[in-house]
Symmetry: C2
Subunit: 406 residues, 2 copies
């Protein structure tokens, strides 16, 4: 299968590209390297020593004999180059990771909010347009987020896989309809994924574009069998307050002897998946495209749920770290229930790596091994969900965010 | 009240700015003049002799003694200037018309699809961001469209004002929720208004931005009491295949002795409102803002519904024009029912101008009076909803649309 991986230099994109290349597919990466540029902007870097993309690709070629091509294209801005690539390459599948993906970064300032909306919306729409424009009938697989559902309904029901059956009062009595689960995003980043959903629905209906949207939970873990082959192939590990997801922050805090910082009561329940299960899920999605003319297929790409205080207790149990409770910078309920339907991937044969099985590897092989590279100043949250909270100084801000001109 | 009218040089924006200025409000127009530029791009122009905006504003000043300021800003692109204006002007109300508003134009080519998404999404998001960024607590009134609802559900129920109560099966039995009516847009343009809705919902929830969204039907009529004062104040009248709505096309076809072109069976039912009722509705919306922290208020801004074949019969009855049925360039059902709830504006005192009352004025005072200015080549549809239809030559294309580089 000919596959384009958009955003193939990122945390999910890189191991996906390797996994699909190892499985025998013909893979090309498209990336604008924006994630590396944001590291420079924030003064952060991956805990793991990440090689430059050309060096990663050379290593992959010399270690496995397999070639992965690379095109430096900003798909949100350079439509003509994206279109020409799709017309030349004629992909069977396009995997779309090319979005700004950190909720805290998306709430940092007007600039980062605007960048996130502009980049993510135009990236997704340009891909859809280019498929119509070129006439290439590729299956588009997009990385969505569990955050499209929000937590407003999820306490009262199992979170369905994208669609929900509802009843409403029609002219002649009660009727049933299957609808997209109502959107309830918790950040500008999550909001952009709810905009993506509506664009997918329209282009599927109007133009017959085949779309699979994967509503992923929080990814944990760093390595896959392919990224473990050599340190030149190592995946990125973010632990800063913006890009580091909660588990990575806990792991680094434990490694440096800092208490684990739990927001509020830690009663927030979140869905998780290991990166090695992410790449397997994407492979399963590729092999099971929707029929032409069908509405987008939606999978919940998660394997377990945890309350954050229980996750902290798990890390504390393995490392001996203490636990601190901080003011929550997010606008959200302190406690929520979360039960997620993930039966579609289970039915396709997904066999998950659980936190209780895999966490010790992260403690030793990543956090412990690379602890000397840590920058302690970047671990606490610097982004806040509402302006007045920042001004009132309700929680620690490591550094102010400058307003810049458009 | 201090009011910013974004897109105040357009078909709805201009009469709104005059109406609110006449009512004693302090009005400033912000516009990038994009609608006039699109006329150059398409080789079209208003049937009515529209003056340049500075001349319109001078005439208004000399005729009424009232001043309307004008700022030439592209709010989708020039965020810093938008922010500075809001900080300087400290508006009580911002009325947002600053979007590309023609469905056929939005479906014309990859370029016009991309322009519509990029312009409309960034315009709306920049306004929301600037309100958060500046801390100005202005009420945002946005012109939405009935097209967000689509026609999938509307045959089976009265179209509600934005929200619908649904029942679903929860963990412990059936539950009720009020949700945004599921989106079912029929074009890229309509799709952008469904994206707007999700952005409004997020910023209302997260930042307490007060938003009113007006889901308007097809506007007909040209003049309001204020634009009729002098020909220098005249409103635009579009009749081309992209920007001319169905009634204006019928009026011009009748005026030049061309048969009225009905798409398909003409069984499509649409909602209508006269431009003088549009400006009254906007005034009512301004005077009735939502409470801080409330979800967006949504009104259906429509006064009657008509089947297109009945509308053609109405025009034919007044003018003697014949009726032709053309292949429908849109992807839509040939026949649909449409009953719309507009009780919120009626409760606020809206007293509508009906088509049967007002149509004769349009026939004589606009179409008849300015018929010598008509360009016959632009009346037929040139945009098509699906690529293969255009390639198969299923309906007349007046001119090809060039692909251009990004």
């Amino acid at each position: 299968m000919k596959i384009l991986v958009l955003g193939g230099d990122g945390f999910c994109g890189w191991p996906t590209a390797l996994h699909l290349s190892a499985a025998g597919h013909n893979v090309a990466i498209v990336d604008n390297l924006s994630r590396r540029k944001i590291d420079w902007e924030l003064g952060t870097s991956s805990l793991t020593p990440m090689a430059a993309l050309p060096d990663r690709l050379s290593a992959w070629k010399s270690l496995t004999g397999r070639t992965i091509a690379f095109e430096l294209i900003d798909i949100a801005q350079e439509y003509a180059r994206l279109l020409a690539l799709i017309e030349d390459y004629q992909p069977d599948t396009i995997i779309h990771f090319a979005e700004q993906r950190a909720a805290p970064y998306s709430m940092k300032s007007a600039d980062t909010k605007r960048y996130t909306v502009n980049n993510n919306t135009n990236a997704t729409h340009n891909i859809l347009c280019s498929l119509v424009d070129s006439g290439v009938d590729a299956h588009l697989v997009h990385l969505g987020t569990m955050g499209v559902y929000g937590y407003g309904w999820s306490g009262s029901m199992t979170v369905p896989e994208g669609y929900i059956e509802v009843k409403f009062v029609g002219k002649e009595g009660e009727l049933k309809r299957e609808i997209l689960h109502p959107a309830n995003p918790g950040s500008v980043y999550h909001m952009t994924k709810t905009l993506d959903q509506l664009m997918f629905a329209f282009y599927a209906k109007n133009d017959g574009i085949r779309v699979t949207d994967l509503h992923q939970g929080i990814v944990w873990g760093t390595q896959t069998p392919e990224t473990e082959i050599d340190e030149l192939l190592i995946n990125r590990f973010d632990y800063d307050g913006d890009y580091g997801t909660v588990l990575n922050r806990f792991l680094m805090q434990a490694a440096i002897g800092h208490p684990l910082t739990v927001y509020g009561s830690g009663g927030q329940t979140r869905a998780f998946i290991h990166i090695r299960d992410t790449v397997r899920c994407i492979e399963l999605a590729i092999l099971n495209p929707p029929a032409p003319g069908a509405k987008p297929t939606i999978f919940n790409q998660v394997t377990e749920t945890y309350r954050l205080r229980d996750l902290a207790a798990l890390v504390s149990g393995l490392t001996g770290a203490k636990i601190d409770h901080l003011e929550n910078p997010r606008v959200e309920a302190d406690e929520n229930e979360l039960v997620v339907d993930n039966s579609k991937f289970l039915a396709l044969g997904l066999n998950a790596t659980t936190l209780s099985q895999g966490l010790l590897t992260e403690v030793h092989d990543i956090a412990g091994k690379y602890v000397a590279r840590v920058d302690r100043s970047t671990i606490l949250p610097t982004s806040r969900w509402r302006q007045e909270r920042a001004e009132a100084g309700e929680f620690p801000l490591a550094k102010p965010t400058a307003k810049t001109a458009s």
